[in-house]
Amino acid sequence: MGRFLKKEGHKDFLGRLKEHAELIAPVTRDLTRFEVIKDINDINLKGKNPFFPIKKYFLPNQENLLHIRKGLTKAVKEHSDKRIIFGARLCDINALSVLDKLFLNSDYPDQSYKQRRENTIIVGVNCITPPSEYCFCGSMDLKKESYDLLLHENENDYYIDVLTKKGEELVKYLPEEESDFPLPRTDKKLEEKNLELYFDNQYWENDSNLCVSCQRCTTLCPSCFCFDVHDSVNSATKNGERIRTIDSCHSKDFTQVAGGHVFRDTRLKRYRHRVLHKIQFFKEKFGRSMCTGCGRCIEYCHSKIDFVKTINENFT
């Protein structure tokens, strides 16, 4: 079931969100990015998808896993801050489904991630027209999932798709009506190919020769969150933290083992590993692509390396 919101009720709706919890939404300054909203008039849904995806609200770039006190470990406290993220698009939202598979894995659920997921309400917006020519989500089998509410803009109103009770609470003042909405369509599309056949393809190397290992691709990807774990303590007091920091499979020491050996010792191997993980390995294991087609890793790549183009045009 869904609800309808009249265009003129839009501000009132945002005001209600802001009153309910800390509101985070896209704001355009030098770049468009998600930030905590003080004035709802700052929110900008037009234009580009925010530069940084929403993953940072669930998996900060750096976070304490454990406190270290006098050489002993101590649990970190619960994350209980409630927030609403407004204006995320389906690529970033579907990327949460990907991260859920890893971080809510039933054998090893990650507490901090779980708490933040539970404490955050996602009010997404559907893309009528893709915000960038690099978007190819239209070919990535996105699902209507992992949000609480999703706004689809019609000519005179918004249809609000309601998936959860938490979402329902926020819109129950609006008229209820069943409706439907189309998923975003994109001109750019990733063709489905059996990539195993192209493992030794020359084009991996051609692409990776342009790579400078800047790691923008993995930093900006909404579903990439490989990390490193290390301890940081004050040598005098022995107090400090066991810290997780975002890492990248594009860094050379990512596969280094004790003793110094590096398994993926070339840019070719690292680039190919990233792309295959995003669109093949994860899918084999979890039944969905890890890549949601947001296009950021292409648009903002230092060398504009376009794996979609390579796969479509050169793997024949």
């Binding site: 270290i68 649990a75 971080f103 090893y108 990650d110 990390f227 303590v233 398994f263």
Partner: protein, 262 residues
């Protein structure tokens, strides 16, 4: 909390070689053969280390000095504490091997996890047929578990070898790569299972020899090495061609990982 490590007492610790130390830790953490634990000293960091024993009350870990954490570990003494979490990963499916002959092939500190299998076999001796051990070390000084070699050779078919000697050969063992010893050995190719643990080149060479002897890939089990940072399938550090060494492995049947490249 999945990252929480608990502290345990070191019951004993001694040097096995100049850069390998055996730690006996009082804990109920009992990795199945092939599984590993994350060992840590808060403030220094964590390191994944395979279990080298099979015992419900104490855990043996062979610590090879290769990095920050292991360097700090060897400064600990009997009575000190270490932090552990685990066990992690899939070990050898020992239950499936019942009734078969077992061939264990280890190189260097790869012999440590095989020691865990031997202790398992000791406790379940009736379940298995002949046991063949092929253990290769660089020099006689590098031989691990020296004290136990006699015991093992009395119970099992032990083939100990060293790559070279710089003087005496106290074990009176063949000198040459373990792969050379293996080449000459008579081995049961039927109803047998092979478990290999050692450096990548040694494993590759070993498999070539085994295949030429008529073993098939489904009889061979290998243990892969990666730097496991999380050990719970999240950090990505251990991934090889879509497989997580930490949770899908570290032990794999060879046909599952054969020919994989990264």
């Amino acid at each position: 909390m999945i990252y929480e490590a608990k502290k345990y007492k070191i019951k004993d610790v001694w040097p096995e070689t100049s850069d390998n130390f055996l730690f006996k830790i009082k804990t109920r953490i009992n990795p199945q053969p092939g599984q590993f634990v994350e060992v840590s000293i808060p403030g220094i960091g964590e390191a994944p280390i395979s279990g080298a024993s099979y015992n419900k009350h104490e855990l043996d870990l062979n610590v090879r000095v290769v990095g920050n954490v292991t360097n700090a570990l060897i400064n600990l003494k009997k009575g000190d504490k270490v932090h552990l979490r685990g066990p992690y990963g899939h070990g050898y499916p020992m239950g499936d091997f019942k009734g078969q002959d077992l061939i264990l092939i280890g190189g260097g500190c790869g012999v440590a996890p095989l020691r865990g299998i031997i202790e398992f076999i000791d406790k379940h001796r009736m379940d298995y047929g002949e046991i063949h051990l092929f253990f290769g070390f660089r020099t006689p000084e590098d031989v691990l578990f020296k004290e136990e070699m006699d015991k093992w050779s009395s119970k099992y078919h032990l083939n100990l070898s060293v790559d070279k000697t710089e003087g005496s050969n106290p074990f009176n063992c063949p000198v040459g790569f373990v792969t050379e010893i293996l080449k000459k050995a008579e081995l049961p190719t039927h109803n047998s299972v092979i478990m290999i643990c050692g450096p990548p080149i040694m494993m590759d060479k070993t498999i070539v020899i085994l295949e030429s002897k008529g073993f098939n890939d489904k009889q061979i089990w290998v243990s892969l090495e990666r730097h496991m940072k999380c050990s719970n399938g999240k950090c990505g550090h251990c991934m090889v061609n879509g497989k997580y060494v930490c949770i899908d492995g570290p032990v794999f049947r060879y046909d599952e990982v054969k020919g994989i490249d990264e």
